[in-house]
Amino acid sequence: MREPRDYDDIPGTYVMDGEHNRKGYHLNMFCMSLNQQENRDQFRRDEAAYLESFAMTDAQRTAVLARNWLEMLRLGGNIYYTFKIAIFDGLTMQDVGAKMSATPMTVDEFKQMMLQGGRSIEGNRYKNEAVEEKVDG
């Protein structure tokens, strides 16, 4: 097991470090395979069968089949890779941005948030920030 990292405490952020890369390698390489038309065709024909050709975990396969975008990130996925599945589905970055929000959010709400400068840092610095603020304040 690796040592804890300070960034482990950032809520909702999955830093693409060595551990994350190691966990997500096969998931991300499946996504990378979608850069080729013949692979996209195969995935389109039978998603589950195509996923069998990659050494992914069952949890990763389930997340892909269910298009659980946030879970894919938790399981080692990287957005630049998992976004290839979104493109495959005809979704935009804003569509999946909204779907990856841990708190339910529509696409329009996501766009509005981005136009206003992005998600507020308040309450998002540390997993225990809300508690700390109460103590400090």
Partner: protein, 107 residues
């Protein structure tokens, strides 16, 4: 010695290419970005540099987790648009200058 005339940079948003391809820059969501790059468009149209050195990052296009150099210099005569998952973008092939690129690489 060449004269360096300008450096032009943009915010990094992977969705920009798709937004341009799908004519979405007129939409309110993209307007702040579109207006932001207008001065750069105008500048480059007016000044027409002889050579552009284009610096960019590669998100799982030519490179993937199989092999990721920290830094690479493209020295080809032509650079074709990558298939990033939805077919290569309908944009012109980038014309390289192999001799100059090798000069940079070996300098």
């Amino acid at each position: 010695m060449a004269k360096v005339t300008a450096g032009i940079a943009t915010s990094h948003v992977p969705a920009i290419g798709a937004a341009i391809d799908h004519h979405k820059l007129d939409e309110p969501y993209w307007q702040p970005f579109a207006k932001g790059i207008d001065p750069a468009r105008e500048w480059i149209a007016e000044h027409q540099p002889d050579v552009c050195i284009i610096i960019f990052n590669d998100h799982a296009s030519a490179f993937s987790l199989e092999l990721i150099p920290t830094f690479a210099i493209g020295v080809a005569d032509h650079f074709h648009p990558a298939d990033e998952g939805y077919g290569p973008r309908d944009v012109p092939v980038i014309e390289g200058h192999s001799e100059f690129a090798w000069h940079i690489a070996e300098s």
